[in-house]
Amino acid sequence: MAEIDVLIVGAGPAGMAAAIEAGKAGLRVVVLEQHQTPGGAIFRQAIADAPAVRIPPRVAAIRHELSAAFAASRIETRYGHVFLGIDSDGFVLAEDRNTGAFVTLKAKSIVLALGAVEKILPRPGWERAGVSTAGGLQVMMKETGRAPAGRVLLAGNGPLLVAVAAQMAALGNPPVAVIEAGDPFRRFAAGVALAAFHQHLAVEAFGYLRELRRHRVEWQRGATLQRIERDGEGLIACVRNSAGEIKFIRADRIGLHDGIRSNEFGLAPANARGPLVVHAGDCREALGAEAAIADGRAAGMRVAAALRGFTHAEPRELTRLRQAEAILSRLFAPVETAHPLAALPDDTVLCRCENRNVGELKALCGGADGLTGREVKHHGRFAMGSCQGRFCADNTAALMAHLRPDLPAPQARDLTGTRWPIRPVPIAALAASGVGQAKEQEI
C-alpha cells in the first residue's frame, strides 16, 4: 500500500479544513474519524428526518461552505475509526469499530485534530447518573433533534450554557434554569470590547439571550451549583445565588460546563525521528470553531509545504480570535473570587474513574515531602483510570497547586504522561491483529 502523505485525525472543522488544503496540494490524504459522519463537536449531523438544532445564520453559512468543500474534495475518510496513538516506530494506530479490527498505518505527516473536551469542575454529587456535561446534552440534541427530556438544569460557566439553553428551548423543552458563575452584565468593559472586537459573537450571544427571555428561562448569574443530591428518581441541586442564599432546584438531568480545553491527552510532542506531527484546531489551542477552521487550513498548508521542505507560520486570524476568546473569558469571569476547588468537602469525587476524592489528595499533599504530579498519580490513582485524566487531571493539578502554593504548579500532563493507547482498546483487537507475529524471538 502506498504510504499516506498526510494522515488527518478528526473530521471536525479543523480536520476538514486541513484535509481540504492538503488535498488541494495534490497529496494523498486520509482522514480518520471515530464517528460515522464529519462535522465534529459543532457541526454534528442529525440522523435522517430529525429536526436540526438551531444555529446562528453566520455559523450555518460557515458550516455549509466547509461541508460542501469537504464533500467536493472527495478526501478518503475512514469513519468509525478510533485513533489510539502513534507508536515508537511512528506507526499510526487505530481501531476500526465497523469491524473490530486493529489498524496500523504509516504516514509521512500527521495532523492531529482531536478537538476539545469540556472542563468540568468537581462538585459533590457530580458523579451521579443523570448528570452529564452540557456539551454532552447538546451532542445528543444535535444527533436526535430532540431536546433532553424532563426537567433540565444547566450549570457552570461560559457562553456554551446559554447556547445549549436556547437550543433546548427552540426544540420545545427549555431548561428549568441556567446557573452561571460569571456575570457578563457586570463586566461592562469586556462587553463593550467584545461588541467592538468580535461583533458576530456578541450578536450571537444576544440571539441566545433573547430566546431565553422569550421562554422565561432564568439565567442566574453570579450563582454556583454547590452540590447535587438524589431525590427519589430525580436529582436535587443546591444552588447559591448571587445574594449568597441557598436554593434547591429539582431536576431530572443536570448539564455541567466550565469551559473547554484541548483534547491532547497522552499525545507525545512531535518525535524527531518519526513522521511530522502537527496539532490543529481545538486540539492545539481551544479557541472555537472559527479558529479551528483557520488553524486546520494552516496545518494542511503547513504539512503540504513541509513535505516539500518549507514551514509555515500560524494564521494571522488566530491572534484576533485568541483575543476574542480572552475577552469572552473576562466577560464570563466567575463573580466568586475564591478558588473554586478550595472549599470542596473532602468526600467530593475528584477522579471519577478511580473514585478518588478531595480528602485523599489533601492527605497526599499534606506531608513535608512535596510529591510531583506523577507521584500523586501513582500513590493516589488520580488520572489513572479509563478516561486517562481527561476529566480529572486539570482539577487535580489545580488543587495540588492550591494546597502547596510554595511548590512549582504541576500540570495536567505531569499526571497523564504521554503514551498510547490514548483510549482503552479491546485486547481481542490487538491480539488478533497478527502484527508482530514471527518477528520476535521468545526468551
Partner: protein, 84 residues
C-alpha cells in the same frame, strides 16, 4: 413497519436508524447504564467518547454507548453483568 429494537437488560429498546445506543436508551428513560467495577454509576456524560463513563458490553465487546450506533437485534449488557 415496526421500529427496530435492541435489547438492554431484557428490555426491547426502540431506536431510529443512525441513533447511538446512548441516545436510544436516553429516549427510553434509561439514565443509569449499569455500574463499573468500583460500583459507581455508569452514565452518559461527555457524549464524545472521552469520559468512558457510558461503557457497556455491546454484542460482547466493551464499547462507549455514545459512539456506537444502535443496530437491530444488538444486545447491550451493563458492565456488572459482563462477567469480565
Amino acid at each position: 413497519m415496526t421500529a427496530p429494537i435492541f435489547r438492554f437488560k431484557g428490555r426491547a429498546i426502540p431506536f431510529r436508524p443512525g441513533e447511538s445506543v446512548a441516545a436510544a436508551l436516553d429516549a427510553a428513560g434509561v439514565t443509569l447504564l449499569g455500574h463499573d467495577a468500583l460500583g459507581q454509576a455508569n452514565r452518559y456524560f461527555c457524549g464524545i467518547g472521552a469520559c468512558q463513563n457510558c461503557v457497556a458490553l455491546i454484542d460482547g465487546v466493551v464499547r462507549e454507548t455514545c459512539l456506537t450506533l444502535a443496530a437491530q437485534g444488538m444486545v447491550v449488557v451493563p458492565m456488572e453483568d459482563a462477567g469480565g
